[in-house]
């Protein structure tokens, strides 16, 4: 029931929102729905009642596909992330005004529903459905609200990801044709009989879709443009949650279905990811645009996750699982600050900013904390994840771990230079008469910061939450 409700709430809320014309009403209603969803998600996290956590009805009998939703530790955590992120986004952007806000929030919620569906669905075809359904609202959002180049950029983003997901569809159908009981159910997918060469092909078809979503170097070029162009609220949703769809896909579907193939391809993927990490970090160092910098740093972080996923190390996987949540939280926080600055001062260029700390100390402090989380300082939530992930990577190969660890230096470089260029130094013309961030932004950031600290000091609950999925995954790997 909870599982179903978790998806139904945003869908219904979104559909209603389509018809709400008045902006203020839309905002209040949206916030309400978001909070309700959050409550449901929390209920899901704390309930252990299987009947509540699973929902299963016949859907396409002659295709062997059922409407199966399930909340295990992994999907609980990601569902929680998705559910948290939307209210926070709404709060943080509460003062922003959108042309026909009703539709804006409606699409946001449909997108959320799609992503929740991806995380919850235990049926391959359903998974694919939600995978696409999360994309369509995002397409409309990105190309309706945003910078002037948004339409072309979003076009690219859409076609890029669409190609990927269609390739994934082939893989899904193919595996389906090889399942013992001709069903799309997760379990029967796990037991699909694929020959070595087949699983090689299908692995890549499947993986490319996920790699594009993550995005993994060198399939990442849609990301910075999209993040830069689309309205920040949307960017938060995309980078905070949608990116996780790729990683999630690897954990829930790819690795268990193709254990051998993922073993044999691990080296190339890990190499690519590590290259991508360094590459993205180096580019981030040279960025002058705040949004682009955050985008590239996100690429670097996700690259690490992707690399660790294929090390087949329990520790590392555990790290990835918690990091998915934490990265979402941190990056959303960074976007909120970026949005606050852009909305207030009308620019994201470091070269035009400076000395903001004198004018907006609160924002500065909160931002610094989030930045520290971004570079994975101990006692922030990111540390646990990164520690475990690097640990796993080290167990896979010390050399690669050593190379990858350079990223923590580079991330410190660009993050701190970002802080310095924006907040430190003397005020410049633009920041001369800036004021501190408004209440709603502070509220949102403080919530995030609290999450950052709490899970940084005491990560154990999240680790326990994701234990079972790790065990399951490890048992899958021979």
């Amino acid at each position: 029931m909870i599982a179903l409700l978790l998806i139904l709430l945003p869908v219904i809320g979104g559909l209603i929102l389509f018809f709400i014309k008045k902006e203020s009403v839309a905002k209040v209603f949206a916030l309400l729905i978001g909070l309700l969803t959050l409550v449901v998600a929390l209920a899901g996290v704390y309930s252990n009642n299987a009947s509540q956590l699973h929902y299963d009805v016949s859907w396409m009998p002659d295709l062997g596909s059922r409407f199966t939703l399930g909340l295990d530790g992994l999907s609980k955590m990601l569902g929680l992330l998705t559910a948290i992120s939307l209210p926070i986004i709404i709060i943080a952007t509460y003062k922003n005004t959108y042309a026909n806000a009703g539709r804006f929030y409606a699409l946001m919620f449909l997108c959320q529903a799609g992503m929740l569906g991806v995380f919850l669905s235990m049926d391959a075809l359903l998974f694919y459905f939600f995978w696409e359904l999360a994309l369509i609202p995002a397409y409309f959002l990105c190309s309706t609200w945003g910078g002037e180049k948004r339409i072309q950029v979003t076009y690219k983003f859409f076609v890029y990801t669409f190609v990927g997901s269609l390739l994934m569809l082939i893989a899904i159908i193919f595996i389906y044709s090889k399942t013992p009981d001709h069903s799309f159910a997760l379990q029967s997918f796990y037991h699909a009989k694929l020959s070595a060469s087949q699983s090689q092909w299908m692995f890549w078809l499947f993986f490319i879709a996920l790699a594009i979503k993550m995005p993994m170097f060198p399939l990442h070029t849609w990301q910075p443009d999209t993040y830069e162009q689309s309205a920040t609220a949307i960017t938060m949703l995309l980078s905070g949650v949608m990116v996780k769809m790729g990683v999630f896909g690897v954990i829930r579907w790819l690795l268990p279905i193709f254990p051998q193939a993922s073993q044999s391809n691990s080296s190339i993927i890990i190499t690519l990811s590590v290259i991508g990490m360094l590459y993205a970090s180096l580019i981030a160092i040279r960025q002058d645009d705040m949004k682009r910098l955050i985008a590239y740093s996100s690429i670097a972080h996700v690259g690490l996750m992707c690399a660790v996923l294929f090390t087949n190390q329990q520790v590392g996987l555990q790290g990835v699982l918690v990091q998915m949540f934490n990265h979402g939280i941190n990056i959303i926080g960074l976007w909120i600050v970026a949005d606050a600055i852009e909305k207030q001062l009308g620019t994201r260029k470091f070269s035009e900013l400076g000395g903001l700390a004198q004018k907006a100390p609160t924002l500065a402090i909160l931002f610094v904390v989030l930045c520290l989380a971004n570079i994975g300082l101990p006692l922030t939530n990111a540390f646990v994840g990164e520690f475990l992930m690097f640990n796993g990577l080290f167990m896979y190969s010390p050399v690669i771990a050593g190379i990858a660890l350079i990223v923590i230096i580079l991330s410190a470089v660009y993050t701190f230079s970002m802080i310095q260029k924006i907040f430190y130094g003397n005020t410049v013309a633009i920041t001369e008469n800036a004021h501190d961030s408004s209440f709603n932004i502070n509220a949102a950031l403080i919530i995030l910061v609290i999450i950052v600290i709490v899970f940084g000091v005491y990560p154990q609950p999240m680790l326990e939450l994701t234990q079972e999925s790790v065990k399951l995954f490890i048992t899958k790997i021979p």
Binding site: M60, P61, L63, I151, Y155, F162, L166, L167, I170, S177
Partner: protein, 462 residues
């Protein structure tokens, strides 16, 4: 049989109406009534209630599949007449005759869905085509329409010639026109006859022509572009799909029988790739939405050909699904298109502002054509891909197909962009409320089929 006879009869009835009734707009209603009755009798037929007991001497054979397809075709025609009947009347001064011809075409469709004899195939194709030559040229003072009908006619006749040559050779090989050859006869007809193969090759070519599969598709874009919009939507949907159904039956019976001697899958693979390439790639560049849709219909032919490529359960189901999905979406798109004053992409700019309902429904139709989940189009594509994968070979063909599907999304979403994200002042005819309702209904059906595809097949099993 019901459908064949009834459609012919109702065509005659409407012929008489044309000079008995003066009020033009009433023809539409008569046609709607006729189509409703047609649908009813066909459904009756499906349930074994045949009004006319005719011994067809094994010329026609009825299967649930064919009858179900009839129902789909008739239903889509009904929807088509409902939402763009006015525009049919507006083509020229022969309102009734157009409906007459449409009914005759339906008669041809009914024949094609149940033929069991090459003669009936031939007749059906002709009964299908000849009215279309007329309808294509029905906008007489429009040179484009003239050109279209001339091209269509000449090439159609030529392909008829090819078809007849094929049939003749097949007859030479097997000694019968009936589809189900009993191949265990005395002496000569052991194994596969070579003449039959050549014949089938010719027949295949002419059928490919009818369903506008590359490289025999060249007529399609020009004719679809030149013909009056409403007629195009009829031709591009129901007629083409009927051709596919006929083709499918031919393949199921004759080509599987001869597959020992000739690898039809290879030939079809070539044709499919050619069709996808020509259809999709050329559609990208088009500036006129009408022509873009023409090319996209070619592209969809490429997808439907998968059913003929992999002759299995998925294929037949998928072809039904595809026919429904594709027909509905295209009919809807054309219904809006004929309302537009300017049918280029620019003409659609900012439609979402002025006509939100049209834009929204259009978007759904385009999603369906692009194969986005939760629309019927996705399920259709799904079945097609699944059918090929079920054959176990030629998986690379699926990859190619999928890449082209992605390309197709490129030009479909171009239209969505124009409607939603570009700003402009689109000029449209007056849009009545009922028209909007019709569009919404079509969109709803598409969604329902997309969510619950099995509903369309429930006819198949009971």
């Amino acid at each position: 049989m019901n459908a064949i006879i009834f459609s012919a009869v109702w065509g005659v009835v409407m012929m008489f109406c044309s000079f008995l009734i003066k009020n033009k707009s009433s023809f539409r209603h008569i046609a709607v009534v006729g189509l409703l009755l047609l649908l009813i009798v066909n459904v009756m037929d499906t349930n074994g209630v045949t009004i006319f007991k005719v011994d067809t001497h094994n010329m026609l054979s009825y299967s649930r599949f064919g009858l179900l397809f009839n129902s789909i075709a008739i239903a889509s025609t009904l929807i088509y007449v409902l939402i763009s009947g006015k525009d049919i009347e507006r083509i020229g001064s022969y309102a009734a005759e157009y409906f007459v011809l449409i009914f005759f075409v339906l008669c041809g469709v009914a024949i094609l869905s149940s033929y069991n004899n090459l003669l009936m195939l031939f007749l059906g194709i002709e009964i299908l085509s000849i009215p279309l030559y007329i309808l294509t040229g029905s906008d007489k003072r429009n040179l484009k329409s003239n050109e279209a009908s001339l091209k269509y006619f000449l090439m159609g006749a030529f392909s008829t010639g090819l078809m007849l040559m094929g049939i003749a050779l097949m007859y030479g090989g097997t000694g019968t026109f009936s589809l189900d050859v009993v191949r265990t006869e005395t002496g000569l007809y052991k194994g596969v006859s070579f003449l039959e193969i050549i014949g089938l090759l010719f027949l295949m070519v002419s059928m490919c022509f009818k369903v506008s599969a590359a490289p025999f598709h060249f007529w399609a874009p020009d004719v679809y572009d030149g013909a009056p919009g409403v007629i195009t939507s009829f031709m591009a949907t129901i007629v083409k799909v009927a051709g596919f159904i006929a083709f499918l039956k031919l393949c199921f019976v004759r080509m599987t029988a001869t597959s020992a001697a000739i690898d039809w899958q290879l030939l079809f693979a070539v044709i499919i790739i050619a069709t996808l390439v020509f259809g999709n790639i050329t559609a990208i560049f088009q500036q006129s939405v009408k022509r873009m849709l023409a090319y996209s219909s070619v592209a969809h032919a490429g997808f439907m050909l998968f059913a003929l490529f992999s002759l299995n359960d998925f294929a037949s189901k998928g072809l039904l699904m595809y026919s429904a999905a594709y027909s509905l979406a295209t009919i809807g798109l054309f219904a809006v298109l004929v309302k537009m004053k300017d049918v280029t992409f620019e003409g659609y700019n900012g439609l979402a502002k002025t006509q939100p309902v049209l834009a929204a429904t259009n978007a759904i139709f385009l999603f369906s054509l692009a194969g986005i989940p939760l629309t019927a189009g996705f399920m259709a594509k799904y079945y097609m891909l699944a059918s090929v994968i079920a054959t176990g070979s030629y998986t690379w063909l699926v990859v190619i197909a999928v890449l082209f599907a992605a390309i197709s999304s490129y030009y479909y979403f171009r239209l969505i962009q124009a409607m939603y994200f570009k700003t402009g002042e689109p000029k449209t005819e007056v849009i009545t409320g009922s028209f909007k309702v019709g569009l919404i209904a079509v969109a709803a059906i598409i969604i329902i089929l997309g969510v619950m595809p099995q509903y369309i097949f429930t006819w198949l099993y009971f």
